[in-house]
């Protein structure tokens, strides 16, 4: 288990380094000069040059890169071009909101999709199964941002039940959470169903049945345990999709989270803030996956002994 843990942690560190580098490269591709943008239209060339020097943009690329990696390591991504305060302060203000959104959506998805997947698997190829699988395929095809817009239309404009924007009261969380959770529910339901169907055919389940155990004991204490292992990995892998969905959903609902901060900072070309947002979101994804991988190795010894 120790060797497995070390391998996984090293891989996660490598991936994070890759992320930081890719973001650096992409942001340096920007055709516009950040100093020029920051100085404004009517700045003199001398002012722009001074600003470039202050921002370290006159250094060779490799020096810029090393300084940048160094600051990223300490979690100090510099000041926001547009608001003048450290970007981590801005990120810190909204990060808890996004975390809340993601965790609630994840919980909702697990609570809804697990019984649905189980139900479909127990009634395989019957009407219930058909309805559940078709509904989940349909839900997966819906554009996430459009679902948000339609929910807003129905529940805030027509029924006037829930607030459509912001985060001033707890009920403002309902629509964003449902929007983020929906595609996740669809995927998890399909996965739970197929996971259970796979183990139901295995020998140990037949043995449990042959012993004369009740169907309930066979399904809940024997079959589901193994069926859920791949589902856990999927929760980790799809967490990225969920975070991506959160970025768009936050924009739709003007939800004060890191996704909206990212989109706004892109529109204002505040690249320090863009870098910080992208790296934080990617880091969250890498860490969740690391935890899931370790959990997976703990639950299923075959995984950590492979290779």
């Amino acid at each position: 288990m120790l060797g497995y843990t070390i391998r996984r942690v090293l891989l996660a560190v490598f991936v994070l380094w890759g992320v930081v580098t890719v973001v650096f490269v992409i942001v340096r591709l920007v055709p516009a000069d950040p100093a020029l943008l920051l100085a404004g239209m009517d700045a003199t060339p001398e002012q722009v040059a001074a600003l470039r020097k202050q921002m370290g943009l006159d250094q060779p690329l490799i020096v810029q890169y090393l300084t940048y990696v160094g600051t990223a390591l300490t979690g100090n991504f510099g000041n926001s071009y547009t608001q003048g305060v450290p970007v981590m302060q801005l990120v810190g203000q909204v990060l808890p909101n996004t975390a809340l959104l993601a965790v609630l959506a994840c919980l909702l998805a697990v609570i809804v999709s697990f019984p649905l997947g189980l139900l479909a698997a127990l009634r395989v190829n019957r009407l219930t199964d058909r309805v559940v699988t078709t509904a989940s395929l349909f839900t997966q095809s819906l554009p996430g941002f459009w679902v948000g817009v339609v929910l807003m239309l129905v529940f805030s404009q027509l029924l006037r039940l829930l607030p459509s924007t912001g985060l001033n009261s707890p009920d403002a969380l309902v629509l964003p959470v449902v929007t983020v959770a929906l595609p996740f529910i669809a995927i998890l339901t399909r996965m739970t169903r197929s996971g259970l169907l796979e183990v139901v055919g295995e020998g140990y389940v037949t043995t449990a049945r042959a012993k004369g155990l009740s169907e309930r004991v066979v399904i809940f204490t024997h079959a589901t345990r193994n069926a859920l292992i791949p589902v856990i990995t999927l929760v980790g892998l799809e967490f990225g999709t969920l975070l991506g969905g959160a970025v768009i959903t936050e924009t739709v609902f003007s939800f004060p989270g890191i996704g909206r901060l990212l989109v706004n900072s892109i529109l204002f070309r505040d690249y320090n803030l863009v870098q910080a947002c992208v790296i934080i979101i990617a880091a969250a994804f890498v860490i969740v996956n690391l935890v899931v991988d370790l959990l997976y190795g703990y639950l299923d010894p075959r995984v950590r002994l492979a290779k």
């Binding site: 891989l11 490598f14 991936v15 994070l16 890759g18 992320v19 890719v22 973001v23 992409i26 942001v27 591709l29 920007v30 055709p31 395929l137 349909f138 997966q140 095809s141 819906l142 554009p143 996430g144 941002f145 459009w146 817009v149 339609v150 807003m152 239309l153 404009q157 399909r190 996965m191 197929s194 990225g240 999709t241 975070l243 991506g244 969905g245 970025v247 768009i248 924009t251 739709v252 990212l262 989109v263 892109i266 529109l267 863009v274 992208v278 979101i281 990617a282 994804f285 890498v286 996956n289």
Partner: protein, 295 residues
């Protein structure tokens, strides 16, 4: 007198029914996609669609209105008085163009790298898979937003951006298929006869990869189309003059209280297109690649 059905007969009957089911799941989505293609090509021509034209007298008309100039707006008009149906079909044009071009670019690039990694193994394979790891650490939409905002809005940039987020899928599928093919007798035979790398890769390995690649391409088409719409919705996709479905949905959000159809209908069109390709992908997988059974 009819013999009682044997188990063998029952099984055959069930197999026949299952095959008919798969056929329907292939034909129906193909017809839907065909309608989209025809609509996207023909409708904007019929309407003489001009994305920059405004007709303020006709704005925000509900679906089914006959406009003062005698034309009939099936899906109503938008905030500048343009026919929503014509606009949606223009949007479908963008979706289909981006979808097909992206699959071509990402597919060619990804398949080529997958073939190389699978065939040569070693450090080529290692580098490729580590790059794929880093790439998969980014939620696709995040990488796309970042790239698109840096490159600026244009149709070609959207295609490039989504291809960059998408090639990994093709590379991975091709690589894993090559790994299972490379030890087959016919590949070994080609190697023993002294065939060149190029011959082994393109004449023996590639043909065996075609079926899974086509299946993945069909499934990915839906993802690509949704990603383009999401980028355009956020304002970092196609430029303003081109009406993408995502842009139209975004424009409609300001008029949810007064004109629900502007946001709702393009979303439904998008969902139908994506659903059709999703069902088609699943059906193709069931038919051509039973090993990859849909999860």
């Amino acid at each position: 007198m009819t013999a009682p059905p044997t188990i063998a007969m029952q099984t055959m009957q069930r197999a026949r029914r299952a095959r008919r089911g798969v056929t329907a799941r292939i034909t129906v989505p193909l017809v839907v996609i065909g309608l989209f293609i025809v609509g996207a090509v023909v409708v904007p021509m019929l309407y003489d669609f001009d994305p920059l034209h405004t007709e303020l007298l006709f704005r925000l008309q509900p679906p089914g209105t006959t406009l003062p100039d005698g034309s009939y707006a099936v899906f109503g008009t938008d905030q500048v008085g343009q026919d929503l149906f014509a606009q949606m079909m223009m949007g479908a044009r963008v979706s289909l163009t981006v979808g097909v071009s992206t699959l071509l670019v990402a597919g060619v690039f990804g398949v080529l790298l997958g073939l190389l990694a699978g065939h040569f193994g070693g450090w080529v394979d290692n580098v490729l898979m580590r790059v794929a790891d880093v790439q998969l650490a980014f939620p696709a939409i995040l990488l796309a937003i970042l790239l698109a905002s840096v490159l600026g809005p244009s149709l070609w940039n959207v295609i490039v951006v989504i291809s960059i987020t998408n090639w990994v899928v093709f590379a991975r599928v091709t690589r894993s298929q090559v790994l299972s093919l490379r030890t087959r007798e016919y590949v070994e035979a080609a190697r023993t006869l002294g065939a060149s790398h190029a011959h082994i890769i393109f004449r023996t390995l590639l043909p065996g990869c075609v079926a899974p690649i086509l299946v993945v391409a069909t499934v990915e088409f839906g993802h690509v189309v949704l990603l383009e719409a999401a980028l355009s919705f956020l304002g970092v996709g196609v430029p303003l003059g081109i009406p993408s479905l995502g842009t139209t949905i975004n424009n409609g959000t300001a008029y949810l209280g007064t004109a629900w159809w502007i946001s709702t209908l393009p979303g439904i069109a998008l969902a139908i297109l994506v659903l059709a390709t999703g069902i088609l992908g699943d059906a193709l997988r069931d038919r051509f690649d039973p090993k990859l059974r849909s999860a």
